[in-house]
């Protein structure tokens, strides 16, 4: 197998700094944590959402409801793909109506995942506002969707792959760009999938 060019663009400290900054910006924009609820998109968006909620608790001494969602049932490309995604759980155990909802994902790319997430949120109620927080914005939008809070903007080519690795899911931390690696398997990805399968993840 040919070696891919893998570049680390954020390390563990960089991710922590980005999450701290996003948390402060969320509080600044919303005038505190009172009206906030956070929903992360599975799987790594949910991990980041929990970290943001933890950071906000440290800053404001206030717990914010955290939900997680699987957007696969709201995708518009299910029937074009041969491999159907395995559906995971959606857990939103609070009322979103009238709240300022922060939607969190790890990487913002075409915007189609976010569109699906917005559709699903609306099925749960009518938030006062929905704001988007992403750890990485890599560009190449196919829909008119714009994040409110960004950890790091990374210029990429369309066929590059951006990998976010978090301790909770992958047992390691870092954000990597694989140049031209869109179609090819990357050793790290294969390894991490195996690890997750072993961990008995649903």
């Amino acid at each position: 197998m040919t070696r891919e060019k893998i570049e680390e663009v954020l390390d563990e400290k960089g991710i922590a700094r980005a999450i701290t900054r996003i948390s402060h910006e969320i509080l600044e924009k919303n005038g505190g944590a009172e009206s906030l609820v956070i929903i992360g998109i599975l799987s790594r968006g949910a991990d980041i959402a929990k970290r943001i909620a933890d950071r906000i608790r440290e800053i404001e001494d206030r717990d914010i409801p955290v939900g997680l969602m699987d957007i696969n049932l709201y995708r518009d490309d299910t029937h074009f793909k041969l491999d159907q995604p395995v559906i995971q759980r959606t857990e939103i155990l609070f009322d979103v109506a009238g709240r300022n909802l922060i939607l969190v994902d790890d990487v913002l790319f075409t915007g189609r995942t976010i569109r699906a997430a917005l559709d699903q949120i609306i099925d749960f109620g009518r938030p006062k506002s929905i704001q988007l927080a992403v750890l990485i914005d890599r560009g190449h939008r196919e829909l008119p969707i714009r994040p409110d809070f960004v950890g790091k903007n990374i210029p990429t080519a369309a066929d590059d792959r951006v990998l976010v690795r978090l301790n909770e899911t992958d047992g390691r931390e870092g954000v990597f760009v694989v140049k031209g690696g869109m179609k090819k398997p990357v050793p790290e990805i294969v390894a991490s999938k195996k690890r997750r399968a072993k961990g008995g993840k649903k």
Partner: protein
């Protein structure tokens, strides 16, 4: 992980991994039917034909609701008001409807093998909603789903299927499914209602209910088909109730955290008493709710699979 076939004809030969995939997926759909808006756009653009040649309340409504909640377009076919009455064959009927561009067919028929036959004459994905006394896979899947939700597993549980074992399609699907998942399965019924060589299925066979249910975790009670009573398969309803009816007294023989199941429709006072049917350990209504989640999961998992894949 994917299902191997693009049809669901039965649980015979289905692996533990495939069944687990269906049950895991059903967990997500169970959450959806608890929401205020019980609908997702997943099957938008897919058309499902419900072909029910036999009467059915639960299964038909459950499938129809599952389809609607996945945003599929669904049509239901009733033979009594169709050209079947004019002598049209099953094959012609289905091929004509398929020519109107449908994607999936859910079929219930009194003859064994009809779902398989349909896979040979149409391109759509076929789901068996009960064929003769052969299989009723979605019922068995919802039974397993209900048990797994309560105990967190199926492996090593002792499940007893009681009643008309011979004519029950639910029993066959349950045996194959439960065995694949590592449960221990026993069947119990009058000799006249036990198929010949049933033990070859790898199950314990009893004609004494008290012995069968001793130490069992789950008792799944099958309906006594009263219409078959004329055939003289058992002497009287009263005798059947005495020997094979699930009564409150018999519950003491079961394991502590036991579960009572029944696929419905129930003959109260015959195979099950009111006290047992409405007792705390009865999950009969939960089975009905779970049926919808399981059927949504099956529709979802089969919907993306096209004929060219095979």
């Amino acid at each position: 992980m994917q299902l191997k076939s693009r049809h669901l004809l039965g649980l015979e030969g289905m692996t533990e991994e495939e069944i687990t995939l269906i049950l895991d997926t059903a967990e997500s759909f169970r959450e959806i039917i608890e929401r205020p808006i019980k609908k997702v756009p997943t099957l938008r653009g897919i058309t499902v034909l419900n072909l029910f040649y036999e009467p059915s309340t639960r299964t038909r409504i459950s499938f129809e609701l599952a389809e609607k909640r996945l945003s599929a377009d669904s049509i239901s076919f009733t033979p009594a008001t169709s050209s079947v009455k004019k002598g049209e064959t099953l094959k012609d009927t289905v091929r004509n409807i398929e020519a109107m561009k449908i994607d999936m067919v859910v079929v219930r028929h009194s003859s064994t093998g009809v779902p398989y036959f349909l896979t040979q004459c149409i391109q759509s994905n076929v789901i068996n909603a009960g064929d003769g006394s052969h299989e009723h896979p979605t019922q068995a899947l919802l039974d397993m789903f209900t048990i797994r939700r309560k105990y967190g597993r199926l492996k090593d549980l002792r499940v007893v299927l009681v009643g008309d074992i011979k004519h029950s399609r639910v029993v066959r699907s349950n045996i194959w499914g439960l065995k694949a998942m590592g449960a221990s399965v026993a069947v119990c019924g009058p000799t006249t209602l036990l198929p010949v060589e049933i033990e070859k299925f790898g199950v314990d066979v009893y004609q004494n209910l008290d012995k069968a249910i001793e130490g069992a975790d789950v008792v799944n009670i099958m309906r006594i088909q009263l219409e078959r009573q004329q055939a003289g398969l058992f002497p009287s309803q009263r005798e059947y109730t005495n020997l094979f009816g699930m009564t409150r007294e018999r519950l003491a023989l079961l394991n502590k955290n036991y579960t009572i199941m029944h696929p419905g429709p129930m003959n109260r006072g015959v195979e099950i008493t009111n006290e047992v049917a409405d007792g705390d350990a009865s999950v009969i209504l939960e089975q009905v709710t779970n049926g919808q989640a399981v059927r949504m999961a099956v529709l979802y998992l089969l919907s993306g699979k096209k004929a060219e894949e095979e």
